[in-house]
């Protein structure tokens, strides 16, 4: 796993201007009647990438996936796969396979015949089919279940059959529609890592649609956050989390505290922002908005410190409040701290040391503070 991790880190074809995208979605719009599901969307996906389309339901992510599979045709724009336009190519002639959210296993066929189905359509010789099916069953650890029918399998086993069936033809691209949506939490977490290993092992390009940000963060090389048929940000999970490009992304991924204010000074890559919550913020920012411009500072709960004493830099990046709620989650504790103006700030502390008693109690007066690079300045 360790070496795998380092491979993944060094894998960044999108940062290399010389590398060519494998899938190119160009200005694609899809309308159903007067509803625009996908709105002038452009995206590049690279070979061997694990790419996630993340968004709330109805954001157009599934429609985009269905256009890649060929079940829907774009109203305008085009999709290019490996240098070839997919326009007018029906699903059964595309070198992509899809794993359906409902798995769509053929109920009248056994596990074996389900997996062999795609190979049979290609007219592969019987012996080769048997061999490939054997490999696939081994890959998803279902050798013992070859003769079963789908209704005789558990949810997790069905998910594996669906995966094996969609991988059997060795597609250039595997499309996964909420692949883990029907599994319970524990199984889902295990399967996430299995999917990642599988993708590495087979060297395939995966495009996964999900509404579960944790799933996307864990598995994907890059995530496209979608909203109302548009891509809001495409970036690595770390970039999406630590450097969201908009209030929407900051708010959508994880927990965040957003302080609105106006820029009062800008110097040496730092901005001073007067927040509406009674304290000034000094924050690193690559942008230099004009003095007087509106700006918002987004800070994740785990980057906020809680202390009994005022920090040395107070009142900059620090403010007093009262502990309002405490949520003990085991690995960490979440505090809701109420400021004087009634604003509630979320802060989380990692419980790195075993302690039976909480360091802070209800109604306690505390200071919250954060560093000059703890947050990100959002323009809108």
């Amino acid at each position: 796993m360790k070496s795998l991790g380092s491979i993944r880190r060094s894998f960044a074809p999108w940062a290399d201007p010389a590398s060519k995208p494998f899938i190119s979605v160009r200005n694609v719009t899809k309308r159903f009647g007067d509803f625009t599901a996908v709105d002038d969307l452009s995206l590049d996906i690279y070979t061997r990438e694990f790419f996630a389309l993340l968004g709330a339901s109805g954001c157009g992510k599934s429609t985009l996936l269905r256009m890649l599979a060929g079940f829907e045709q774009p109203t305008s724009g085009e999709i290019i796969l490996d240098g070839q336009s997919l326009a007018g190519i029906p699903p059964y002639r595309r070198p992509v396979n899809m794993m359906f959210q409902s798995y769509a296993l053929f109920p009248h066929m056994t596990v074996e015949t389900n997996i062999a189905f795609g190979l049979k359509q290609d007219g592969m010789p019987k012996a080769d089919i048997a061999e490939r099916v054997g490999q696939m069953l081994k890959l998803v650890k279902l050798e013992k279940f070859a003769k079963r029918k789908p209704h005789q399998l558990s949810g997790g086993q069905r998910q594996r059959v669906a995966l094996a069936r969609s991988l059997a033809k060795r597609p250039k691209v595997l499309l996964l529609d909420e692949p883990l949506g029907a599994l319970d939490k524990k199984l889902r977490e295990e399967t996430q890592f299995e999917l990642m290993d599988l993708q590495q092992e087979l060297g395939l390009t995966f495009v996964v649609v999900t509404h579960d940000q944790e799933e996307a963060m864990t598995m994907a090389d890059r995530i496209a956050v979608m909203s109302h048929g548009k891509v809001v940000q495409v970036a690595t999970p770390a970039e999406i989390y630590e450097a969201p490009n908009s209030r929407f992304v900051a708010d959508f991924i994880g927990d965040v505290n957003i302080f609105d204010g106006t820029v009062s000074a800008a110097e040496n890559g730092y901005l001073r922002i007067e927040t509406g919550n009674g304290f000034p913020v000094r924050m690193a920012s690559p942008d230099r908005p004009a003095v007087g411009a509106k700006a918002a500072v987004a800070i994740r709960p785990e980057k906020i410190r809680v202390s009994r004493q005022a920090p040395a830099h107070a009142p900059v990046n620090a403010v007093e409040g009262e502990i309002w709620d405490i949520g003990y989650l085991g690995d960490m504790t979440v505090f809701h701290i109420r400021l004087k103006d009634g604003r509630v700030v979320k802060a989380s502390l990692l419980n790195a040391v075993r302690a039976v008693e909480d360091p802070f109690g209800y109604d306690q007066q505390v200071w919250i503070s954060f560093g000059e690079d703890a947050g990100v300045v959002l323009k809108d």
Partner: protein
């Protein structure tokens, strides 16, 4: 108390279909079977022996000794009955296949229609039942006869110059049966297609099937239960059909329903007609029992 009542109620619910079968199938069948073992007689009722409940058990035993299989032997001696059975099965079989070929596309179209208009389509399928069956069959005479509507139409558009002879042939019977029994085929097929998950077809397309082969490999096999139910619903009554062959078929058309009617009314031979009916039932029931056994076996094999 409430639990006892609900347990009693659930028993009752199970009893109802069995009671129905007992009173309206088994007992009447037993009576028919018993008559088939009797001899014809010029009397009222027209057969012997007639049981006299006052004769006591020994009297009944005495009478029962008069039962014989003569009527069944008689059926094997006259080739007319054999021919009638065979031709009934053939006519019913052809009609069932024709009905299936028309009903399947209809059901498929209905299942693919927008959800909002499906109830209307269902209604339209059932609508002919609101007119008397006899009137509808009579109407076909007016359509099919040599100077009927069909021939007038075809001759007016110059497709034919001689009227087609359809009425009083087997073709008229096929048309009559297909028309009359179509809803019985459409409804079970529609219900099996309608509840099918359409992503299965998409999965087949995704795995490389053309739409045509996706239909044959996925959609059709999954609708087989509906197809079988529809075929049984059409085939079984069609074998014993009497009205349609009598009104639309020719005099030389031999069907068992007509034979039965002749034996019963014209010849007044209740025992022979009862034997005909009993054999007809066996011809229909035995294959179905075998078929269901095979299906149950196939179902449990996957386990």
């Amino acid at each position: 108390m409430a639990r006892v009542a609900s347990a009693l109620f659930s028993r009752l619910v199970i009893i109802i279909p069995y009671a129905w079968l007992l009173f309206f199938f088994l007992i009447p069948f037993f009576i028919v079977f018993r008559i088939s073992l009797s001899q014809t007689a010029v009397a009222m009722p027209p057969y012997t022996p007639v049981f006299d409940l006052f004769g006591g058990l020994s009297g009944i035993m005495e009478k029962a000794r008069e039962f014989s299989l003569d009527n069944y032997v008689w059926l094997t001696e006259d080739v007319l009955y054999f021919n009638a059975y065979v031709s009934s099965v053939i006519i019913a079989g052809i009609s069932t296949i024709l009905t299936l070929m028309i009903a399947y596309p209809v059901a498929y179209g209905m299942a693919k229609a927008p959800k909002s208009i499906r109830p209307t389509l269902l209604m339209l399928v059932i609508l002919p039942f609101w007119t008397s069956f006899l009137i509808r069959v009579y109407a076909w005479i007016a359509i099919l006869k040599p100077e009927g509507l069909l021939n007038q139409f075809l001759m007016s558009i110059n497709v034919i110059d001689q009227p087609l002879i359809i009425l009083n042939t087997n073709w008229a019977i096929y048309i009559g049966i297909v028309y009359s029994y179509l809803p019985f085929m459409v409804l079970p097929i529609y219900s099996s297609l309608e509840k099918m998950d359409h992503t299965l077809t998409e999965a087949a397309l995704d795995l490389g099937c053309t739409p045509f082969s996706a239909f044959w490999q996925v959609t059709f096999p999954l609708s087989l239960a509906g197809v079988v139910a529809g075929c049984l619903l059409v085939f079984i009554p069609a074998v014993g059909e009497f009205v349609i062959p009598d009104l639309l078929g020719g005099s030389e058309t031999l069907m068992i329903g007509k034979t039965l009617w002749n034996e019963f009314n014209a010849n007044r031979d209740w025992p022979v007609s009862s034997a005909v009916a009993t054999i007809l039932l066996l011809i229909l029931v035995i294959p179905i029992v075998f078929f269901q056994n095979a299906q149950a076996k196939a179902d449990s094999e996957g386990r």
